[in-house]
């Protein structure tokens, strides 16, 4: 016997409240999903009503009418009640929900399609820029590239660096020149100093034999507003906090 058949057989007993509490609870769970049993339950209640109506006719005492009228006069208006959603409303509610859901999906789909078209339109230009960016990156990072700093005549070369930073995305490019080699077990480290709070490390580096070094796209939290940049000499390993003296420093323009 299937679960449905077992519930269907118990329906008459459920209709007349003759099932145990646990069986009635199980029946109510089944009724939520079984339209056939709900329809049969309505018919069984019709049968039960007829059985109840076979009761021998009796007239309530006249005082009962006065009692009711006095009670409702005391409650001058029916208490407004929020109507509970019946089973018969479920298909309508489900249809309305689905309609709203589909409308939202259609709108999102439209927005996404529009955005996709915009992005696709940008692809050719970006693809054209890729070789140039790759060449530029290779130029900067190639140790065989010749880097020449042009200074005022008769000026002695001294360590200097240049940082390009985009706070919104956290993208950072740093290039330094004329740095002396770092002492043993030490490395140069770039720091970003926010307006408030502790300095944020942007990565360590060692200059090459010509004193040049670069840091490309180190991991920087997006949205960090740096007001100052600094390079210090730090132990190659260990806790990250800047130690003096500062080798290079610059203020954001």
């Amino acid at each position: 016997m299937t679960g449905h058949e077992r519930f269907a057989q118990n329906l008459p007993l459920y209709a007349i409240d003759a099932l145990s509490v646990s069986e009635a609870d199980a029946m109510e769970v089944h009724l939520e999903t079984c339209a056939a049993c709900r329809r049969e339950l309505e018919n069984l209640r019709g049968d039960l009503a007829l059985v109840a109506l076979t009761s021998e006719a009796a007239t309530p005492p006249p005082r009962s009418r006065q009692r009711l009228l006095a009670a409702i006069a005391h409650e001058s208006h029916p208490v407004p009640t929020r109507r509970r959603m019946g089973w018969w409303l479920i298909p309508f509610a489900a249809s309305a929900f689905l309609a709203i859901f589909v409308a939202v999906l259609w709108r999102d789909n439209y927005v996404l399609r529009d955005r996709l078209v915009q992005l696709q339109a940008r692809i050719p230009a970006q693809q054209a820029e890729i070789p140039l960016a790759q060449d530029l990156l290779a130029l900067i990072t190639d140790p065989k590239s010749v880097q020449v700093d042009l200074l005022a005549a008769n000026t002695k070369p001294s360590p200097h660096g240049r940082a390009v930073y985009a706070p919104r995305t956290g993208a950072l490019f740093f290039m330094a020149s004329d740095l002396p080699p770092a002492p043993p077990h030490k490395a140069y480290e770039l720091w970003l100093l926010p307006k408030e709070g502790t300095p944020v490390p942007a990565g360590t580096f060692q200059p090459d034999s010509n004193g040049n070094a670069t840091l490309i796209m180190p991991a920087i939290p997006a949205g960090l507003e740096a007001v100052k940049f600094a390079v210090t000499l730090e132990p190659e390993t260990g806790p990250r906090s800047p130690t003096r003296p500062t080798v290079l420093s610059g203020t954001s323009q």
Binding site: I16, D47, A52, S55, A58, T59, P60, S64, L68, E75
Partner: protein
């Protein structure tokens, strides 16, 4: 089996005959095998329908006269069923007050699209009375009770015929089957309690209840 005490006044023979409508309306009487008046049929029109929905609409606006009309129309139904279950006029009157006040406070609980008012009130009255016997709170909300019937119980003559047929089915039913049905419907016993009371198996009780209700449905829809 509970039965109404003798002091209960029985001016109406069908639960549908309200105190304010009985005089001058009664034309035909149906008597049971013992010669007792079991049903009286109104003569004011074979298909006169009870326009309950406009009254319910008026009750929603707080119209006390509409509620009084509903009481006059159906207090007999509710009281008769409650008295049949409880066998106590005071308790039956309490159930009558409770059911009518519930309808006054929450008229939206009755939806004419989901059944007629008379059987709906009969079911609610029976349910409240059984729970009164069991000393527990109602387990079925008014608004959850949907009733379907092939009989138009809002038409007096059709309803009276259906009740009379149901009575005959019950009278002709094997006694063991009728007792099981009455213990469940009017004494409010569960299947397990009926099994203890009658010494029958749960399966037999289930079968007899199903067969009894099916016989009634078949008789009134033929």
């Amino acid at each position: 089996m509970p039965s109404a005490p003798e002091q209960v006044r029985r001016t109406a023979a069908s639960p549908f005959d309200s105190p304010t409508r009985v005089a001058g309306e009664i034309q035909n009487e149906i008597r049971d095998p013992h010669g007792k008046v079991a049903l009286k049929v109104s003569s004011t029109g074979p298909d006169r329908t009870r326009a309950d929905e406009p009254l319910i609409t008026r009750i929603r606006t707080g119209d006390q006269e509409a509620m009084a009309t509903i009481y006059d129309r159906y207090s007999g139904v509710v009281y008769s069923v409650a008295l049949r279950v409880l066998g106590n006029p005071d308790a039956a009157e309490d159930v009558l007050q409770e059911v009518m006040l519930q309808l006054w406070r929450d008229p939206d609980a009755f939806d004419s699209a989901r059944g007629k008012l008379a059987p709906w009130l009969a079911i609610i009255a029976r349910h409240r009375s059984v729970n009164y016997l069991r000393k527990r709170r109602p387990t079925v909300e008014l608004s959850e009770c949907t009733i379907a019937s092939d009989v138009d119980l809002e038409v007096e003559t059709e309803c009276s015929r259906a009740i009379e047929r149901a009575r005959r089915v019950l009278a002709d039913m094997p006694e063991t089957q009728r007792i099981v049905l009455e213990l469940a419907v009017f004494d409010g016993l569960t299947d397990a309690e009926i099994a203890v009371r009658t010494g029958q198996s749960l399966g037999t009780i289930k079968t007899r209840v199903c067969a009894a209700l099916a016989a009634i449905r078949k008789a009134v829809t033929r």
